[in-house]
């Protein structure tokens, strides 16, 4: 297929589907590096294809495109993201507050220590790249994974949330943060430069002290 200047891997996939093989299935949406839908395995590494220049990854002209690892394949380059989001829920990755909209706003200072920790990790858009890159996810099918645990960490540090005890129980154990071996493939590959490994380390500290205090 024609090689163009500034071509992205998504351009390549789109060209293949439009001109060479109309049966090819793949996912994309914004194509400008904001939504994370176009994540695939490119030359062995999980990437956003819309933000991956062919010239950067295929210097020798060889491009291998595959669906994201660690997820069931629906068809061709499309994976089933359900397990990824199911684990998000399992890690109690949702906010639960005590107030209703009739109550006053909860004041949270952005410079506070805990809010800074949340802000560092909150930008996750659930693209699945970290999850696909993690070997522990491959070795332990029940491991919650970096994204779910990272999100749990942002909620653990949210002073408004009232489900902290349940959340610590949800993220602890062999299927939770304690399975992480700090391989740091997640941090290495995150397209938003987040650090799930660091969030997971934070969860390890909190769950350990809770367990030692008999609060877990």
């Amino acid at each position: 297929m024609p090689r163009l200047e500034s071509q992205t891997v998504l351009d390549v996939v789109t060209h293949i589907q439009r001109r060479l093989d109309p049966t090819l299935s793949y996912r994309f949406a914004c194509r400008v590096g904001m939504c994370g839908s176009c994540a695939m395995t490119v030359n062995g590494k999980a990437r956003w294809t819309c933000r991956t220049h062919v010239s950067v990854v295929a210097g020798d002209g060889k491009l291998e495109i595959a669906p994201l690892h660690n997820l069931p394949v629906v068809k061709d380059l499309v994976t089933d993201m359900a397990p990824f989001f199911d684990k998000w829920a399992k890690a109690k990755g949702q906010f639960t507050g005590p107030d209703t909209r009739k109550d006053e706003f909860a004041p949270v200072k952005p410079e506070s220590r805990q809010r800074k920790l949340v802000d560092e990790a909150i930008e996750c858009i659930g693209c699945g790249v970290c999850y696909a890159s993690c070997d522990v996810v491959t070795w332990r099918p029940d491991y919650l994974g970096p994204a779910a645990l990272n999100r749990a960490w942002t909620l653990v540090n949210d002073v408004r949330d009232i489900e902290q005890r349940d959340r610590l129980a949800a993220v602890a154990g062999d299927a939770g943060c304690h399975a992480c071996h700090t391989q740091m493939s997640c941090t290495q590959r995150c397209p938003k430069f987040l650090d799930p490994a660091k969030s997971i380390a934070g969860l390890k500290r909190l769950t350990m002290s809770a367990a030692l205090k008999g609060e877990l």
């Binding site: 639960t96 005590p98 107030d99 209703t100 109550d103 522990v136 070795w139 332990r140 009232i162 489900e163 005890r165 349940d166 610590l168 129980a169 602890a172 154990g173 062999d174 304690h178 390890k204 769950t207 350990m208 367990a211 030692l212 877990l216």
Partner: protein, 130 residues
């Protein structure tokens, strides 16, 4: 939907989960103990191999010594906790091994290391004919 009037019922972790976390903590705490012991051990080894190693040199140092008995006894205990828990993770991840049988093997490795380790400590600290 909750209101600030009704208290939430907190769910505590299952005993199994608490055990997993405590085992992890034991692995880390034994690691700290081992780090200290290994540091001393490396220093001793590096010093002792100078000019060759003889039984007289080793036993001369350890024989009848309460200090070495306590040190090496603690060293063995920490290793007998740390190594089996590490092996448990390796076995479960690479061979997809879960459940009770893995737990039994873990404990057996620990018992084996403790027994042979303490026997070795006994051997060098003072037992048997000179």
């Amino acid at each position: 939907m909750t209101t600030s009037a009704s208290p939430r019922h907190a769910v505590t972790a299952s005993p199994n989960l608490r055990l997993q976390v405590l085992l992890w903590a034991a692995h880390r705490i034994s690691a700290v103990v081992l780090a200290i012991c290994v540091f001393v051990h490396l220093a001793v080894i590096i010093y002792a191999v100078r000019g060759g190693l003889t039984a007289a040199e080793i036993l001369g140092r350890t024989s009848g010594s309460i200090a070495w008995a306590v040190f090496y006894g603690l060293f063995v205990a920490a290793a007998a906790i740390h190594a089996p828990l590490g092996m448990r993770t390796v076995l479960s991840e690479h061979f997809n091994w879960r459940g009770r049988s893995l737990g039994i093997v873990t404990v057996l490795i620990g018992i084996g290391l403790a027994f042979f380790g303490w026997r070795a400590v006994y051997a060098v600290v003072g037992a048997g004919p000179a």
